[in-house]
Symmetry: C2
Subunit: 407 residues, 2 copies
């Protein structure tokens, strides 16, 4: 039997309605949307343009042309940052972001830094929320872009994106947001929230893998990352992935239709899980903001228990102990470190990512497993013995574990 899936920040299953919408384009309607000289191509082109309009409407965009299809959010994030950087005049070479952004932002920013761009990281509080005063202070004459995620993939912290957008626009600076985790859950409207670029990923909200988009406000021009043929208004070349584009739009439609009801249900499940953990298990710490977090996210540190060992013990539940993209690394989560979680607690963290398939019964199973395994693993932990003997655990070095494969 497969485990209970509780890792919806890493990926989500394809909604069966989405797959149904894709099927005609995986079967008979297989044309290349660029082949507009015949019916096969025109049929595919029509499907793409309908999907583009749906997505534009969903995001509150002014025009369907503002949706640029990509292979996923990693590419979208790269296109947003590099696209602005390479297009900006030489003297505009400063980008402002957060230290808890997705690796697609952070690694791209580091790459740009090596090329001579200046990167500033705005202060965040211990819940991961941006310090808006510090954002204002970081803005300079040469600032080309502000990029702040809508919600964090590990701790679920939601940023005040409309306020960030307002500050950016006060200074005439474009504002990009990686909304991969937020879309389908939060109410985002790019015009109302003054967002100039927004990254989207299909597989994070029950759509297909291998498809994403970047909303790009019409008056912004980006240098393309991928040349050849001039598709997508010259900003992203390559044959359009028609079935996945149709699926992306369908997934958006379903999310929007079910959003309020599903959010309420997820909040209830999460409340049950949180209360269960906090009332039944000792020495736990909630990482991230107590309220301003995605309705499906919890991130707990179970002190004196290695996250990896706990996941192994709870192998009937698919969980994560860090960002899925980096879970093969032994390092403790860079997000938790950035909000000041001590290493010894970061190593004990588990991310719970709830989703459509999860039920109250599954929450009970998870709580049973945690109640059973956390105390048992603690009894095997030398750290727990030391803590009980009064040693200050935070002062012990965990540096051996602290190597980042991405540096």
């Amino acid at each position: 039997m497969k485990p209970i899936y509780m890792d919806h920040h890493a990926t989500t299953p394809l909604d069966p309605e989405v797959l149904s919408a894709m099927m005609p384009y995986l079967k008979t309607a297989f044309g290349n949307p660029s082949s507009t000289t015949h019916d096969f191509g025109r049929e595919a082109r029509q499907a793409v343009e309908t999907a583009r309009q749906q997505l534009a409407d969903w995001l509150g965009a002014a025009d369907s042309d503002e949706i640029i299809f990509t292979s996923g959010a990693t590419e979208s994030d790269n296109l947003a940052l590099k696209g602005i950087a390479y297009r900006s005049p030489d003297e505009k070479n400063h980008i402002i972001t957060l230290a808890i952004e997705h690796k697609a932002i952070l690694d791209t920013a580091k790459y740009l830094q090596k090329q001579g761009y200046e990167i500033s990281y705005v202060k965040i509080d211990s819940h991961g929320i941006i310090d808006l005063d510090d954002l204002r202070r970081q803005i300079k004459k040469n600032t080309a872009l502000i990029s702040v995620q809508a919600a964090n993939s590990e701790i679920g912290t939601m940023q005040p994106i409309a306020e960030i957008g307002a500050i950016a626009h006060e200074h005439g600076i474009p504002f990009h947001s990686d909304a991969v985790q937020a879309l389908g859950k939060l109410d985002i409207n790019v015009q109302r929230d003054k967002i100039d670029m927004l990254s989207i990923s299909g597989h994070k909200f029950y759509g297909p893998k291998g498809i994403g988009a970047l909303y790009v406000r019409k008056d912004l021009r980006l240098a393309p990352l991928i040349h050849g043929g001039g598709h997508e208004r010259g900003m992203r070349s390559g044959t359009l992935n028609v079935p996945a584009i149709v699926g992306l739009a369908k997934a958006a439609e379903i999310c929007e239709r079910d959003r309020e009801k599903e959010n309420a249900r997820l909040l209830q499940l999460r409340q049950k899980l949180r209360q269960g953990i906090e009332s039944q298990i000792e020495h736990v710490q909630l990482n991230g903001h107590p309220e301003k977090r995605l309705p499906n996210n919890l991130n707990f540190s179970f002190a004196y228990v290695e996250g990896e060992s706990l996941m192994l013990a709870c192998r009937d539940v698919a969980l994560s102990s860090g960002s899925a993209c980096t879970s093969t690394s032994l390092q403790s989560s860079y997000v938790l470190r950035a909000i000041g979680v001590p290493d010894f607690l970061a190593h004990c963290s588990i991310r719970f990512g709830l989703g459509k398939s999860n039920t109250a019964e599954q929450i009970d199973i998870v709580l049973d497993l945690l109640r059973k395994h956390v105390p048992r693993l603690r009894e095997m932990s030398p750290l727990y013995d030391l803590a009980k003997a009064g040693v200050d655990i935070e002062q012990l070095s965990w540096k051996d574990h602290d190597h980042d494969i991405h540096e």
Copy 2:
């Protein structure tokens, strides 16, 4: 009723066997291959690595790690050229290619040229075949890469890639080949043919859209185009598109299994079409090499008949009058111009791209349509009147039509 599909260079339908292989990964096996802490992720990872091995075996690669998954051949071509260019020492800044390459190569080369790289285009003959002596002459101390397509998408001309590989390796220069049109039809073995990088596209051989790969010989390191998370040995970040990767490998397996039989069938159909056109229609010219061309390709100019008008008249057959990627442009084909086809004949060209679904009966239908419409359209053509009156058509200016949206 849908037209007869005869545009298989632009895209191909997904093979039903490929779709079947993908279905489990579009349904229950939805994990993120990076989430290796649980069964969902490990199952996805396993599927990806199995596919990677299959593709490596198919191409004759030494190691499965040499396969880097991308979103398609346009990205693969970009990664090959920019990846080498940005990774090479400053003094290695020269790339050799052909003027008839796909736009993904040509536009990328032009972009690199703007950044200070030097691009040389090797001479080709009137059939589009590379001049190997000129290739030798173009090689310089600062040459970083030779990139030559295995077969052309418009005229089907096949290049002597093993000979090009040998010349490249004599000089210690990496050799990249865009094999998008050739794969599944020609016998390609990267080790035997001395190919260091090879671009692959799923949807060109009955696999899924939105997936491609770049074979990269193990000792070559490329600068990534897309940063974030360090997937694919640091050369291409982003969540892996598991269903499409599984589909890509399945498509390769089917192509290899059926290759000889299907090639023989296609050759027969093509022979019938070619003989029909040449014996039944006046004033036609075959573009590209009479023999050294893909088994499914024909490219004919029907003098005094605009390609667009002929396609409109033959709307029961899906055809192309140029590269599908650029068919919305009014320009005459850059490939035909590069091999010296005069503008007035280039504008009259039709590409026939045969494929699995095509039958001998369909060839008869196409021949009937051509026999009916070509003479009728000629009667309406002022050029035909002029030609009959003895005017030299080649000297007339077609420049009004000659604007390239990609420049």
